[in-house]
């Protein structure tokens, strides 16, 4: 069975190996130079407030010239697209093609049981899918380590230096790529079992996986672990008050109000001392166009207006990674069970 799985999977395995090699070469060639730029930036030996400035100027210089922004975006895109491609090109045809061409009648009437046939196929190709995606992710993590450290010193905000909770970064680092790869692959296989035709199964797999990958960061990931809440006085960080852009639209940059940087802000907004959300400035602070924003902010602070923030602290990065990966792996197991049930009992 191992031989058969390898023989039928050979072409896809060679494609995957080619992707892995090109990816590795690209990052291996540019990675050391990026690391040397970081070393030359002096961030490593910085003290106090100079760190933030050094990190920002380091990222700024990378942003201004050189291949690094493009490489960063490209490599992250490859990691995010790989599970989808695995689902479409490895998972969906795995069983659907056998059903479509009738070769299942050959494969399932040898001396090997159907359950074993499926277990070896799902197991080996599934492991290859997880290894490929996580391999790409680890390489990117090594390459982007200087950027990650710069972000840690507060050089956030740009695409190149997106925080760890930015959807693309969260989805391409840590252990989540393992979960996505396993889920996408088994999703493809199960769709193939259900639809029994490879091309429609490929299209449906892509559609379902895309919807899941958009829905999870938007609606599910923020609530995997109950968020922390804090109500911070506006006076805590004076510079944050600059964020008041218009008297009709009160909003403050919330991350500046938290004690540790890098948190994932889920929602934030000004509230009164009684806890009621402030939609328009209190009458006492004067309403109307031409109000001096700095004066307005000071007035708000005196009125007891504070900022309510709901967030996931940066220390939860790994906890959220584990929970999300576990959910994807459980979904993959459930879909695998469905494949076994259909192949072993229902199909012919």
């Amino acid at each position: 069975m191992i031989w058969l799985t390898w023989r039928q999977f050979r072409a896809q395995a060679i494609t995957a190996a080619a992707v892995l090699v090109v990816f590795a070469v690209l990052l291996a060639v540019t990675g050391p130079h990026l690391a040397s730029l970081y070393a030359a930036s002096g961030i490593a030996g910085c003290h106090g407030s100079s760190c933030g400035q050094l990190a920002s100027s380091f990222v700024g210089r990378l942003q201004a010239a050189g291949p690094y922004p493009a490489l960063d975006v490209l490599s992250i895109a490859v990691i995010i697209l790989t599970p989808a491609m695995i689902g479409v090109f490895w998972g969906a045809p795995l069983i659907a093609r056998e059903l479509e061409t009738g070769t299942f009648r050959l494969a399932w009437t040898q001396s090997v049981s159907r359950a074993r046939w499926l277990a070896v196929k799902l197991g080996l190709v599934g492991l290859a899918a997880m290894a490929l995606t996580e391999g790409l992710s680890l390489m990117q993590a090594w390459w982007a380590a200087p950027l990650g450290r710069a972000v840690g010193y507060g050089a956030g905000g740009s695409l190149l230096a997106a925080g760890r909770f930015a959807p693309a970064v969260f989805a391409s680092h840590g252990i989540t790529p393992l979960g996505y790869a396993a889920f996408a692959f088994v999703l493809g296989a199960a769709t193939g079992v259900l639809i029994r035709h490879a091309i429609p199964a490929m299209a449906v797999t892509l559609a379902i996986f895309a919807v899941v990958q958009i829905a999870v960061p938007l609606w599910i990931r923020p609530h995997l672990i109950p968020a922390d809440h804090v109500v911070a006085p506006l006076s805590l960080v004076q510079t944050s008050l600059v964020g008041v852009t218009s008297p009709d639209n009160l909003s403050f940059p919330a991350d500046g109000l938290l004690s540790e940087p890098g948190a994932w802000i889920l929602s934030s907004g000004p509230v009164t001392s009684a806890g009621q959300p402030v939609i328009t400035p209190p009458a006492a602070c004067g309403v109307g166009r031409g109000v001096n924003l700095d004066l307005l902010a000071g007035c708000l602070a005196r009125q007891g207006v504070r900022e309510s923030i709901s967030y996931q602290p940066v220390s939860r990065f790994w906890a959220l990674q584990w929970v999300e990966t576990a959910i994807y792996l459980i979904l993959a197991l459930a879909l695998a069970w469905y494949c076994f049930w259909r192949v072993d009992r229902r199909l012919a």
Binding site: T101, T103, R105, L106, T109, Q110, S111, S113, R114, A348
Partner: protein
């Protein structure tokens, strides 16, 4: 020992019964012809016998056990002889060797050589006949005790048909295996099978050794007569009449002694056609025209 035993076996697809109330007991050592018109349930019966389908009703035993458990001892050639288009012939032999503990590698490579096929050739480029031969090689080299062949010659031209059957009979003689092969044409099987199962409209109409079937069926010709007045021992399968003459195909275990009838033997093909025409009125008329 029986190679195939079914009791009240039935298979329903949604609301349509593909096979119903099928009770059979096929002894070992025969080449069994499974005959019936298209859609009679032949493929369903064979699929049930290799566990590709599960019965809706009744039971099926192959070589004395559940079909899925007996797969190592059963060779199966599915309808249209599916093979992996992208794999070479050598790959297919490796496939057989890796998936079957009893694989006879020498037998398999001998057959490929004798068929004058290039092992490096991709199976997708084979002709219909060559593909059937490759699939038969996979089934035979498994060294099965029972070989189940679903319409193995349907896609072959007459010459390839003859060669395929000849080849099959050689394999049968060498390996002492039991064979069940299906076809919707009796003529294909007449030369090779010594046991017949006739499926019509999802039901078994006739089953038994060919010589026994031929010995108990007679074609009677005589003066015109109502078939209802015949003795009970004669089971009338078909009757046709002209103004003065009646022709009957009857089944009886005792000899027909009535001197009014001239008794003649019936061939296997005519026998099968008679049973087929018995089912539909239209078929009966067609048979009358032929006589």
């Amino acid at each position: 020992m029986t190679v195939l035993e079914t009791r009240g076996l039935g298979k329903r697809y949604r609301r349509l019964w593909a096979l119903s109330d099928c009770t059979l007991s096929v002894p070992a050592g025969h080449v069994v012809g499974l005959v019936g018109p298209n859609g009679a349930g032949k493929t369903t019966l064979l699929s049930l016998a290799v566990g590709l389908l599960a019965p809706t009703t009744g039971t099926i035993e192959v070589l004395g056990g559940r079909p899925a458990e007996r797969l190592p001892r059963v060779g199966y050639l599915a309808q249209d002889a599916p093979v992996y288009a992208g794999l070479s012939l050598a790959d297919h032999l490796a496939f057989g060797a890796r998936l079957n503990p009893g694989w006879d590698a020498a037998l398999a490579s001998d057959r490929i050589e004798r068929l004058d096929l290039d092992p490096a050739q991709k199976a997708g480029t084979l002709s219909g006949g060559q593909r059937a031969q490759l699939a038969l090689t996979l089934a035979v080299a498994k060294r099965p005790e029972l070989l189940l062949l679903d319409e193995p010659v349907a896609s072959l031209d007459p010459l390839a048909r003859r060669e395929f059957l000849q080849d099959l009979m050689e394999a049968v003689a060498e390996q002492e295996l039991s064979v069940v092969l299906s076809s919707h044409l009796v003529a294909d099987l007449e030369r090779v099978c010594d046991y017949l199962i006739l499926l019509v409209g999802s039901r078994v109409r006739l089953a038994g050794p060919v010589d026994e079937l031929l010995a108990t069926h007679h074609l009677l010709t005589g003066p015109r007569r109502d078939p209802d007045t015949l003795p009970k021992a004669l089971e009338v399968i078909t009757a046709s009449h002209t103004n003065r003459q009646t022709t009957l195909l009857v089944r009886t275990s005792s000899p027909v002694l009535d001197p009014a009838w001239s008794v003649s033997e019936v061939g296997l093909e005519d026998l099968v056609l008679a049973y087929l025409s018995q089912v539909t009125g239209r078929g009966r008329r067609r048979l009358e025209v032929q006589k």
